[in-house]
Structures are given as structure tokens and as C-alpha cells.
């Protein structure tokens, strides 16, 4: 069991205890000279909802893609159920990935396929379909779970942003995965639609009991769905614990982020960037 210990503005050091369904061991990811993840160690607990928070560009999406090895680490190791997976070939990795469901930020539905075809895509790839009636019922059941029964023949272009995410979620759970990864599930949605997605995450976790990892910068969502919250900053884990631990965390970066406060450095940059009247200057002949 993880132990949460208090510190004084220092990073939490207990993010990895070696026990979990997915484990990252000393993972570093570089793109050129840019270090996005810096020696991150983390164990995702089975059957729990782990939320990864952090400012834009801090490496949240890169982290979640490492959990399913859509990106391979520059250094370090990734384990799924005690099996190292970051060094597997694509064929072996594809078998491992059937245990995961991934909800992408924009949904990533296939434009050329209908809602039904999108949902049966993973089933078609991995199962031999003999009874199409049964598959239709399965699609209906999956869509009912996300509240979209009746949308079977729609195409992604005819759906709203929230509906697309819900269809993508139905597709992500098509193979009854053990782990569901959500990449910014509420981004771009109004507060009510965002709450619908939060409720769906909770409902699926409750009914299916699977392991859930959510990447978000929406603190309302994080507090609502999380059993455990991890904060990333500059590619490192700076906080790890339950919602109360994060609320009371002494690290100034954590407090700044969860309260949505601009830093003194950012304010200084804004003050030095010139006056509004300077920014409003236009050439004389501009009409």
C-alpha cells in the first residue's frame, strides 16, 4: 500500500513502490534534446482510478502513451502485469494492447466508418464474428452504456464533440479491457457535457471494475473521479496522493496549479511585454 508522507515543498518520492498493474521504472523520454519525461517511476494500482494532472505541455499525454507503449521510452522500462512490454515487437505488443482501452483527446473516431463500424472495429480485428445479430446487440449494449443507443448509423461528422467522445468510449470498452486510459476526456466540452463524461468514467469504473487512468488539467473532473492524483511538472512527478493530500500539498507549483493562479514569473513577463496601446498599433493605410 502506498504511504503518503508530508513534505515541505519537495517532490513526493513515493510514486513508485513496484506493485501495480502497470509500472513505469525510471522512464525518460526525449524528443531531440527536449526532455519531456525525466526519470519517472510510477505504479498504477489495479481497480483504482489514477488521475494525472499538470499544466499544458508538461508531458501528461506522453506519459499516458507510454502506459500502452504507443511511445517507447528513451530510457527506463514499462511493465504490464509484471511483464516488461516496452521492448516487445509490435506483434507481441498488439496482443498486450487488447487489454487496454484508450479514449483519445479528440475521440479519434474513423471518419469513414459509421458509429457501429467504429465500435465493432476492435471486435472484427480480434474475434471471428459468426453471429452478426449478437454483434449488433453488443453494439447496442455498448452504446446504451454511454447513453447513445439509436446512434448506430450516424457518422462521426454528424455528432457533437461530447457525443464523439462517448462513441469513442464505447469503442474503447468494446473488448472489455482491464485498463481504460482517458486522455483529456473533458477538454473542449461545456461544464454539463464534461460532467456527463465524469459520470460515465465513474459508472464504468463502478460497473466494470477496471483500472482507470485519466489525464486532465480539469481539477473539477480530477477531484470527482480520482482515487489518487499525480501531478507532473517539467517531466517529473511533484505530488502523489488522494484528493485531500493534493489540496493540502505544500509544493507551491501544486497550489498554484490546483487554484489556477498565474505565477509571479508569468506576471513579470506580461508586465515587460509592452502596453496595450503599443499592441494596438496598425499601419496607417490599414482599413
Amino acid at each position: 500500500m502506498r504511504k503518503v508522507k508530508e513534505n515541505n515543498g519537495k517532490n513526493d518520492t513515493h510514486a513508485y513502490d513496484g506493485d501495480g498493474i502497470i509500472v513505469l521504472k525510471n522512464v525518460t523520454k526525449k524528443f531531440g534534446t527536449n526532455v519531456v519525461l525525466d526519470n519517472v517511476s510510477l505504479a498504477i494500482e489495479k481497480g483504482k482510478t489514477t488521475v494525472v494532472i499538470g499544466p499544458s505541455g508538461c508531458g501528461k499525454t506522453v506519459l499516458i502513451k507510454h502506459l500502452i507503449v504507443l511511445l517507447r521510452p528513451s530510457l527506463g522500462e514499462v511493465y504490464f502485469k509484471d511483464r516488461r512490454i516496452d521492448n516487445l515487437g509490435e506483434n507481441e505488443l498488439n496482443k498486450v494492447r487488447t487489454h487496454y482501452g484508450f479514449l483519445f483527446q479528440g475521440g479519434a473516431l474513423f471518419d469513414s466508418l459509421s458509429v457501429t463500424e467504429n465500435i465493432i472495429f476492435p471486435i472484427r480485428q480480434h474475434c471471428k464474428i459468426t453471429d452478426w445479430k449478437q454483434v449488433e446487440e453488443l453494439v447496442k449494449a455498448k452504446l446504451a452504456m454511454v447513453g447513445l443507443d439509436g446512434f448506430q448509423n450516424y457518422f462521426p461528422a454528424n455528432l457533437s464533440g461530447g457525443q464523439r467522445k462517448r462513441v469513442a468510449l464505447a469503442r474503447a470498452i468494446a473488448l472489455n479491457p482491464e485498463v481504460i486510459l482517458y486522455d483529456e476526456p473533458t477538454t473542449g466540452l461545456d461544464p454539463i457535457r464534461a460532467d456527463v463524461i465524469n459520470e460515465l468514467i465513474l459508472k464504468l469504473q463502478r460497473e466494470l471494475g477496471e483500472t482507470t487512468v485519466v489525464v486532465t488539467h480539469d481539477m473539477t473532473s480530477a477531484y470527482k473521479v480520482a482515487d489518487r492524483i499525480i501531478m507532473l511538472h517539467n517531466g517529473k512527478i511533484v505530488a502523489d496522493g488522494d484528493a485531500d493530500h493534493i489540496r493540502n500539498h505544500p509544493h507551491p507549483v501544486v497550489q498554484q496549479f490546483i487554484n489556477g493562479q498565474v505565477s509571479e514569473d508569468d506576471l513579470a513577463v506580461l508586465r515587460m511585454s509592452g502596453t496595450i496601446s503599443q499592441a494596438q498599433f496598425l499601419p496607417r493605410d490599414f482599413e
Binding site: K65, I68, L70, E90, N91, N94, K95, V96, R97, T98, Y100, F102, F104, Q105, G106, A108, L109, F110, D111, F121, P122, Q125, H126, R171, L175
Partner: protein
């Protein structure tokens, strides 16, 4: 300066390596798709999009090639009293070179651009990552059907281009310019061999694979944003065009060498 040259060279070699690996993976995935009946519907769909819908544009290209050749060559041959040999010149040029090359260039523009734009958009909207996240190899699902469709249908489209080139050349030569019909065809039959037609069609297999592989690779590696997709489409067309010309040159050298080996006297005649 030296650093820049070095970095550019290393970048170029890396790109060639990545492309070679992509082609190898595509070839393996295509061979596997051939023996998997459940992949046939995907190949069939791509054959319809890539092949069937390209027929009109390829036929028009072929017809104009034949017609233009007739108009251009007539003046020179008529000056020497050899206008009845116009059929040989047009039909050899069409079936061996211009038909295959121009049909392939047309396909590189029409099909290659569409493939790059489609896969590039799928790449930037994370649809390719979505395919991978569901445990499916995107090269098997997205690239192999397109490569097979191009491989199988480019030669067929070249046959259409050849036929229309021959018809176009005949129309201008015989109907418009008044060359004797019988002489036109008999000289053509004497000058054009099955080998010439075969060489043109065989080129289609190579052109088809080159167009599909380059276009899919550019789509898979395109940068984010509208500009990234647009640039990938341009690069795909330019690379396909140059590959078609380079492959054409290489195939001409090889096929001529084969012909000279098996029919040494014929080549002298």
C-alpha cells in the same frame, strides 16, 4: 557549416532508413494480406477508390498522348515520305513509354495525393494511434490494402491508357490526316511486338508500388496541422514523380539487356 552539412546528411540517411523499413514492413504486411481472406474486403474497397475511379482520367490522358504524338510526328515523317510508318512510331511510344509513364504520373497526382492527405489527416487526428491502441498493426490495416490495390490496378490502368493512346493516334492519323488505314495497321503490327506491350505493363507493377509506398509513408510521417498535411502531399507527388522517372530508366536498361540477350539478332534488325 560542417555541422549543418553533417546534420543534413545524417537526417537524410535516417529518412532513407526509415523509408526502407516502412517499405519492408509494407511488403510483408501485403504478402500476409494476400493469404488472409478477411482482408479482401479492404483491398476490394481500395481497388474501387484507387483503380475504378481513375479509369476516366487515365483514358483521357492516354487519348491525348496518342493524338498529340500523331500531330507532332506527321510533319517530320511526311517530309521524308514515311507517313505510313506513323502507326509504328505512335504505338511503340505509347505502349512502351508514354502510356505507362503518363498514366503513372496521373495516378501519382490523383491517387498519391489522396492517399497522403487521408493518412496524414488520420495521423494528425490520432486515428493511426487509435488503430495501434486497439492492437491492430496500422501498416497491415491501412497500408497493405492500398499497396496491393495500386500494385494490381496500375498495370490495368496502363492497358486502358495504351488502348486510348492507340485509338487517339489512329483517329488523328487516319481520320484527320488521311493516312491509308491498311498501311497504318500493317506497319504497326510489324513494328510493335508483344514484348513491347508486356514491358509497358510490367512497368505498371513497379510504378504502382512506388506511388503507394511513397504516398503512405508521407502520410504516416506528416507533421501536424493543415500546412503539414499540405506539405506532405506536395512531397509525396514530387517523390513519386521522380521515382517513376528513375524506375522507368532502370527498367528500360534492364529490359533492353534482357531483350538483347534472348533475341540478339532481332535487336540489330
Amino acid at each position: 557549416m560542417i555541422g549543418t552539412v553533417g546534420a543534413t546528411t545524417i537526417g537524410g540517411v535516417n529518412n532513407i532508413g526509415r523509408f526502407a523499413r516502412f517499405v519492408l514492413q509494407s511488403v510483408i504486411a501485403s504478402l500476409r494480406s494476400c493469404v488472409r481472406p478477411h482482408a479482401y474486403p479492404l483491398i476490394w474497397t481500395q481497388m474501387n477508390i484507387i483503380g475504378v475511379r481513375s479509369v476516366p482520367v487515365v483514358m483521357v490522358t492516354g487519348a491525348f498522348v496518342g493524338m498529340t504524338l500523331a500531330v507532332q510526328a506527321y510533319g517530320q515523317l511526311a517530309g521524308m515520305g514515311l507517313e505510313e510508318h506513323l502507326g509504328v512510331l505512335i504505338n511503340i511510344a505509347v505502349v512502351k513509354e508514354l502510356g505507362p509513364v503518363l498514366a503513372a504520373v496521373m495516378l501519382a497526382g490523383r491517387v498519391g495525393g489522396a492517399l497522403t492527405a487521408e493518412l496524414g489527416t488520420m495521423n494528425v487526428t490520432e486515428q493511426i494511434d487509435a488503430v495501434r491502441s486497439m492492437g491492430t498493426d496500422p501498416i497491415r490495416y491501412l497500408v497493405a490494402p492500398r499497396v496491393l490495390a495500386c500494385l494490381l490496378l496500375t498495370p490495368c490502368l496502363i492497358i486502358y491508357a495504351d488502348l486510348m493512346g492507340i485509338v487517339g493516334g489512329y483517329f488523328v492519323s487516319v481520320v484527320q490526316l488521311g493516312i491509308n488505314n491498311r498501311a497504318y495497321w500493317s506497319f504497326s503490327a510489324f513494328g510493335v511486338e508483344l514484348w513491347d506491350v508486356g514491358v509497358g505493363i510490367v512497368k505498371g507493377f513497379f510504378f504502382g508500388v512506388a506511388i503507394a509506398a511513397i504516398s503512405c509513408y508521407k502520410g504516416f510521417t506528416c507533421r501536424e496541422g493543415a500546412q503539414g498535411v499540405g506539405q506532405a502531399c506536395t512531397e509525396a507527388f514530387v517523390a513519386s514523380f521522380i521515382s517513376i522517372l528513375a524506375l522507368d530508366y532502370a527498367l528500360v536498361v534492364i529490359t533492353n539487356a534482357i531483350y538483347d540477350t534472348f533475341w540478339p539478332l532481332k535487336s540489330l534488325v
